[in-house]
């Protein structure tokens, strides 16, 4: 005879069986993914962001019309369904239907118009104005609720790239209607897979899964971006399991993470292109191409990467990174101090000359050490190098204002992920960082490249331009370094895109 107790046991077992798969699924993942970052994201306004870091955080909650593949950087539709170039100054974008913002508002052509106007033509100081300067004369027309036409005054083949930039998060026209001319500090309304929970300035940003997301279900229930300024503390927190991912792992702490059985190091080549810019407009010796080539031949860059950065970097042989669109590698200037000396003698500097090398304090890892090593190599071929150090704000002012002579260190991002972003800097009418003015055929190639739409022709022109700039030895070409991240082995789906954008939308932690 079945007692009441037996019956209860059976019912309990049945319930356990019924619930088991769901419980297992819930147990398989930790509810919260915590990512520690070294500095405070400056904003939660969709268009006020200034850094890739902020862009990455906001990119979980907001979305652009286009995006880039996290591995290949290929352009892909996101809120757009498709786009086409109608004529050199007109682009048409078809929008996805049935998408709602976090506040319930529908995503339409009005949202796109509002966003581009707020980010580019308003008086707000936005990043979009740099990635897509208002001088292009952008205008947006809503053809119907799901089609927009974007016109520019001058032909702009880069429009799709610009629409994929994180500086153009699509914002709701009604929800942020009062914020056309001012920044938002207390909420984020986007269409993304995660919703805004809180932003404690200087401490953390918290987002949670958006159950109504139009795309694949977000893999983590919650993501916390926790500010921990000190790298050693970030590593300690990672070892304890208090955080799951730590950004900016410095080389000296690599082995701590590598030797911990629960952790791993994730390395991705950063898009920052490092070089020493040479002032060919004012420094007499540097006007001579042979001297500039000699400066390149005199430095053993491979040895510096190996000894200073634990081998975690790759040589750069021109002014654009190895992975951007339309890049081209003209091959290295080999380490050849004998040839360097010969070239210097040929140029009339056989007895050397004095040169000032500028470096900024507190901006780049091992900045002073790098300057000292480079100066050491140059000294060896007779170029008496004096190092000058400056605090970052002043350094940036003088370097971008084309005021530094003779040589200075810099690392450039690539805002449009196309070689044209850096190549255009060598036009004599470019506003900042004017240290070498392209002329003749090289200038013509650069100008043609900027306005050419045909992909094949663009590639050819880019290669010609990059080869020309390599031969002119406009910089001491240096390297791209790996971006190092420490993480728990249980973290899955976390990526850093080649342009340094942190791709956390597919990331989760196994329980």
């Amino acid at each position: 005879m079945q007692t009441r107790r037996d019956w209860l046991k059976q019912a309990g077992a049945a319930a356990a069986v019924a619930l088991a798969p769901r419980a297992a699924e819930a147990q398989a993942r930790k509810t919260t993914l915590t990512i520690a970052l070294p500095s405070t994201p400056e904003t939660i306004d969709p268009h006020q962001l200034r850094s890739v870091l902020s862009g990455s955080i906001l990119g979980l909650m907001g979305e652009g019309l286009l995006t880039r593949d996290p591995q290949t950087m290929e352009l892909k539709p996101l809120l757009a369904e498709s786009w086409r170039n109608v004529n050199p100054t007109t682009w048409e974008v078809k929008l996805r239907r049935g998408i709602k913002f976090h506040n319930g508002e529908e995503f339409t052509a009005e949202s796109v118009k509002f966003t581009i106007e707020r980010a580019i033509t308003s008086k707000l100081n936005t990043l979009a104005k740099l990635t897509w300067p208002p001088s292009f004369g952008q205008e947006v027309q809503a053809v119907d609720p799901h089609t927009v036409r974007i016109t520019t005054r001058i032909p702009d083949p880069m429009v799709p790239s610009r629409l994929a930039a994180e500086s153009l998060n699509i914002a709701p026209a009604k929800g942020l209607g009062d914020y056309r001319e001012k920044f938002v500090t207390d909420r984020f309304i986007g269409t993304g897979p995660y919703r805004f929970v809180e932003h404690v300035v200087g401490d953390r940003v918290v987002v949670e899964a958006n159950p109504a997301y139009w795309g694949p279900k977000p893999p983590s229930a919650r993501i916390v971006w926790q500010v921990i300024p000190d790298a050693a503390t970030r590593v300690a927190a990672l070892q304890r399991g208090d955080i799951d991912v730590m950004l900016n792992l410095p080389v000296p702490l690599l082995s701590t993470v590598e030797t911990d059985p629960g952790l791993r190091v994730y390395a991705e080549l950063s898009s920052l292109t490092h070089g020493v810019l040479l002032n060919t407009r004012e420094s007499p010796a540097l006007k001579d191409r042979r001297v500039r080539q000699a400066l390149n031949l005199a430095v053993d860059r491979q040895a510096i990467i190996k000894n200073l950065f634990a081998g975690r970097g790759q040589l750069l042989n021109t002014v654009t990174g190895r992975n951007v669109m339309n890049t081209f590698d003209p091959g290295p200037y080999p380490y050849d101090p004998g040839r360097a000396k010969a070239l210097l003698a040929e140029a009339g500097y056989g007895h050397g000359f004095d040169l000032q090398l500028w470096q900024s304090i507190g901006r780049w890892t091992l900045a002073e050490e790098m300057a000292q090593v480079i100066a050491g190599y140059w000294d060896k071929v007779g170029v008496k190098t004096k190092i000058q150090l400056l605090e970052w704000a002043e350094y940036n002012k003088r370097s971008s204002g084309s005021q530094l002579r003779d040589a200075f260190y810099y690392a450039f991002i690539n805002g449009t992920w196309d070689a044209s972003y850096t190549v255009q800097r060598f036009k004599p009418d470019f506003a900042t960082f004017r240290y070498f003015d392209a002329s003749g055929d090289l200038l013509k190639v650069i100008r043609d490249y900027e306005q050419t739409f045909d992909p094949k022709r663009r590639r050819e022109l880019a290669a010609q331009a990059l080869k020309g700039l390599h031969e002119e030895a406009v910089w001491l070409f240096l390297w791209q370094l790996e971006q190092l991240t420490g993480m728990s082995k249980k973290v899955k789906g976390f990526r850093i895109r080649p342009d340094d954008f942190i791709w956390a939308r597919d990331a989760y932690v196994e329980a």
């Binding site: 100081n125 300035v201 500010v227 300024p229 208090d242 507190g362 704000a393 940036n396 002012k397 900042t432």
Partner: protein, 293 residues
């Protein structure tokens, strides 16, 4: 004093460089830089900017952060409790450790206990706070896993930062307690108290320590500023969300309104602490009370 500090800070931060160049991206064209400068009012003469700042500060309006666009007063209000909690905890740890240590050292002068305590005090004073903090993290956080290593929340979160910060004043305080006690213990009234047959604990607590307290309280008042300074390092290492970190980030980003606001608030706190120290004198020494009357 607050006015003087405000003017001084205003002058210093404006001498330190142009915030606009840090706000716009490094390759911004000059017209973007100019527009930004105008939008923020940095194109106006300095005296006008100062006058406007002072008038608003008097009304409790410390301006808006250039970086986060949030009111400076709100930012400070959010962060101040964390710093106050940390400094008070550090102060408490320092007092609870240094006072007994100093008394024991004074009473057992020359003994191994005294020597050990004083070597410890000097070592504590000499140790850089960031180094000690990292050692504490490695031991209690990573190896033993007893305590969390970053952030604010539970009492456990407070232990390591407060312990690190307390060492800034602990050593000096212990040495001062010892020397003050030694001085007082040699006084006639202590001998009288002992001669009356009072218990040694009563002699020490009521007769000696109370008389030795004036220089100790003075030191605590003076060292409070150092604690706030030390909080900058401690808050950075332990990711403690206080005003120390707020001001460091603001300085790096040339966020003038935040720097000015924090310095103003900290100087007001310092003034308040000085007043409390003065009042404590009167409470501790009846002679001062009668003089005042």
């Amino acid at each position: 004093m607050a006015l003087g500090v405000s003017v001084l800070v205003f002058a210093l931060v404006h001498l330190s460089g142009d915030p606009v160049l840090l706000m716009v991206s490094s390759d911004a064209p000059p017209d973007v830089v100019d527009t930004t400068r105008r939008a923020l009012g940095f194109d106006r003469p300095l005296y006008q900017q100062l006058a406007q700042y002072l008038v608003r500060a008097a009304q409790g309006d410390l301006g808006v952060s250039l970086r986060s666009q949030r009111p400076v007063a709100t930012l400070i209000a959010e962060r101040l409790p964390a710093t106050v909690e940390l400094t008070l905890a550090a102060l408490l740890i320092a007092i609870l450790t240094a006072v007994p240590l100093g008394i024991v050292s004074a009473v057992k002068r020359g003994s191994p206990v005294d020597r050990l305590a004083m070597v410890g005090a000097v070592a504590g004073q000499a140790m850089p706070i960031f180094w000690l903090a990292l050692l504490l993290i490695a031991l209690f956080g990573v190896r033993l896993r007893w305590l969390p290593v970053f952030g604010r929340g539970s009492l456990a979160h407070l232990v390591l930062p407060a312990l690190s910060l307390s060492t800034i004043i602990l050593g000096r305080l212990a040495r001062l307690v010892r020397s003050s006690m030694l001085e007082v213990l040699g006084q006639d009234y202590v001998r009288t108290a002992r001669a009356k047959g009072l218990a040694e604990s009563r002699v020490l607590a009521l007769h000696a320590l109370r008389n030795a307290a004036i220089p100790i309280v003075t030191l605590l008042g003076l060292q409070f500023a150092q604690l706030l300074g030390g909080a900058v390092v401690t808050e950075t290492i332990f990711a403690w969300p206080g005003i120390g970190r707020l001001v460091v980030e603001a300085i790096f980003n040339r966020d003038f309104p935040v720097v000015q606001g924090v310095v103003l608030v900290v100087s007001l706190i310092f003034v308040a602490v000085s007043v409390v120290v003065d009042l404590a004198y009167a409470a501790l020494d009846p002679r001062l009370r009668s003089e005042a009357a």
